[in-house]
């Protein structure tokens, strides 16, 4: 029981990181119907940005709250700029092209970032700077609640609240919702769709940046290929929850984190990576629109 609760806590904390990344996928998909393969590598670049900023400012070995804030800011800015550049240079020229072409471009961008990253950052793993001290804060019924888990949960919840505020309470958010419902009509109503799409990329990638710092904190080893599998799992989480749906991405992320933790704990860790895709195939067979997604009928 005690073990189970501990795994539950770990799973939720891992799942909320998945949720942060999944949000980026689901937002871009909601607005462009594009699986943004490059998202996982934007996240990777975020981790490296935090790494380099930390060594530049001399924060490699001074865990604390201020370090966390600096790294978060660095990673968010780097991710936003990169995503903005990708959107402007690779996706925008293809706005009117068939979807397949944009998908291939996204894969191309993803590969480019991976291998360019290997050339620039080096292929060998690097040690992520210490962000916080991992102390046991409280012990409830034998379950250790550690700083990392609390920090991950707290940051994720804050990010969700901010995101919720942006999407439902601001003018920009209203425009985002309008563009994702119907791009043509939104642009006729005077919404600058290009700007809104760029803004969506910024928001999604900042969340990926936050996610990358949290992952770096929990598993302090980063390499240029770290994004691929993690990103795919986050994408599966987004599909699981219903792609295009924001609460769905959060739910999917949590389920994903929990099930992965449970498989590692009670079955075998070698099947951990196959699990995500197993879930994906099952969900596609039984409920292709995802748990919280709406199924759409295609009209001619």
């Amino acid at each position: 029981m005690q073990d189970f609760l501990q795994h539950l806590l770990n799973g939720i904390s891992l799942g909320s990181i998945y949720a942060l990344i999944a949000l980026g996928y689901t937002m871009v998909y909601g607005i462009l119907q594009l699986i943004n393969f490059a998202h996982s590598d934007v996240y990777m670049v975020g981790a490296f940005a935090a790494y380099y900023v930390a060594s530049l400012v001399g924060l490699q070995d001074s865990p604390g709250f201020s370090t966390l804030l600096v790294l978060l800011a660095a990673s968010m800015v780097a991710c936003s700029l990169l995503a903005l550049a990708i959107e402007r240079l690779a996706y925008r020229p293809l706005r009117k092209a068939p979807k397949l072409n944009i998908l291939i471009t996204a894969i191309g961008v993803s590969l480019f970032l991976q291998y360019f990253g290997q050339a620039v950052f080096g292929a060998e793993p690097k040690k992520f700077p210490a962000v916080l001290e991992n102390k046991v804060l409280v012990s409830v019924a034998g379950v250790d609640v550690k700083t990392f888990d609390i920090a991950v949960l707290f940051i994720t919840v804050v990010m969700m609240l901010v995101l919720n505020f942006i999407i439902f309470k601001t003018k920009l958010g209203k425009a985002m919702r309008a563009v994702s419902t119907n791009m043509k009509v939104a642009s006729m109503m005077g919404v600058n769709t290009d700007r809104i799409i760029a803004f969506t990329f910024i928001v999604g990638s900042s969340l990926a940046g936050v996610g990358s710092v949290l992952v770096g904190m929990k598993y302090p080893s980063i390499d240029p290929l770290m994004g691929t599998l993690f990103g795919l799992k986050a994408f599966v989480a987004a599909v699981l929850g219903g792609i295009g749906s924001i609460p769905g991405a959060v739910l999917g992320g949590i389920i994903m984190g929990l099930s992965e933790e449970m498989v590692v704990a009670y079955l075998s860790s070698t099947y951990r990576d196959a699990l995500a895709f197993g879930i994906l195939i099952v969900i596609l067979v039984f409920k292709p629109s995802g748990l919280l997604g709406k199924s759409q009928i295609e009209k001619v």
Binding site: I104, G108, T228, I281, E298
Partner: protein, 336 residues
């Protein structure tokens, strides 16, 4: 032109292939011979993927997974079935290739049926996921070597036929070339048939195709299963010529290579896919000296940039839907 037209008859082109094999046997060194077999394998892979990604307009990202199924099942079978004596063992390899293909086709059916009902980009993810699942399963199956890899797979060997040596290359090249021709003619004839026209209509407009009475899901599944079959065959040839398999040789990278071949050549152009297969197989070898100087795998950086630029500037691929013969006709028309 009449000489080229004669090549449209499968038997004649097979004869030409055997002549090429003999020339290669005596004129080329071992490394180029090995490379030429890999070119043939990649050609089969590119043509089969072109059937799904090019002609049917779906997007599969897990071709390496199907290749792995074919390779491993064929390799496993070859350790179980006794070999025919001497040069007759070529029939063994034909059998293994067919079995490997059928296993891969079965896997393709299982994967394709649920995911092909959905929109294109889901298929990309499901096939990608399938490729990963296959890899993880192979890693955890001790019967086929697990993570160590599958050693000692029997392959073609040299045979002395009273003074004439039937070399490993001659046998391997003929076998691979035979399947390459089979793939080519099957897909080519298929695309001229009503089934093939159905595939094309699915690519052009799914709703319109359905309205005209094409069972779109069936068409997609058929294309997918056939494509997986040939991927499995390619895997089988690879397994027996390399004599060694490891789950790492069927990673995501390999699927991406296949996709690049199709996209580069032009989605829906058989000759484009063939040329791109040659290009993609030979280029890493040409880049090797450069890579040794820089010390970085520069190949993938070039590929990915190529992919992005191609999509932006020439979205239909280098050849588009045109075949080499179309280009030749155009060139002739311009000259006269």
């Amino acid at each position: 032109m009449t000489a080229l037209r004669a090549l449209k008859i499968p038997f004649l082109s097979f004869l030409v292939l055997i002549v090429i094999a003999f020339i290669g046997n005596f004129a080329l060194d071992g490394f180029v011979q090995l490379l030429s077999i890999y070119v043939l394998i990649n050609m089969i892979l590119a043509m089969s993927l072109n059937l799904v990604n090019g002609y049917t307009g779906q997007f599969s990202l897990g071709h390496a997974g199907f290749m792995a199924v074919g390779a491993y099942s064929s390799a496993w079978l070859s350790t179980q079935v006794p070999f025919l004596p001497g040069p007759l063992q070529i029939f063994n390899f034909l059998l293994y290739a067919v079995v490997g293909g059928i296993m891969a086709a079965g896997a393709g059916y299982l994967v394709g049926l649920p995911s092909l009902r959905l929109k294109g980009d889901y298929l990309a993810i499901v096939t990608l996921g399938f490729g990963e699942i296959i890899r993880v399963v192979l890693l955890n199956t001790p019967a086929v070597g697990g993570a160590r890899g599958f050693y000692g797979i029997p392959g073609p060997t040299d045979h002395d036929l009273g003074g004439f040596v039937l070399s490993k290359f001659l046998m391997g090249f003929t076998h691979a070339g035979f399947w390459c021709l089979v793939t080519f003619f099957v897909i080519w004839r298929l695309m001229e048939s009503s089934h093939g026209r159905g595939f094309l209509s699915v690519r052009e407009d799914e709703i319109a195709a359905e309205a005209m009475g094409v069972d779109t899901t069936q068409a997609k599944v058929r294309a997918f299963v056939l494509s997986s079959f040939f991927a499995g065959v390619a895997g089988s040839i690879f397994a027996h010529y390399a004599n060694y398999l490891s789950p790492a040789s069927f990673n995501f990278q390999r699927s991406v290579d296949a996709v690049i071949m199709v996209v580069l050549g032009g989605m829906g152009s058989m000759s484009g896919a063939l040329l791109a297969a040659v290009f993609i197989t030979v280029m890493p070898e040409l880049l090797r000296p450069l890579q040794q100087v820089i010390g970085v795998d520069i190949r993938m950086i070039i590929y990915s940039l190529f992919l992005i630029l191609l999509m932006i500037m020439r979205p239909k691929g280098l050849f588009g839907k045109l075949e080499l013969t179309d280009l030749y006709k155009r060139w002739k028309a311009r000259k006269s």
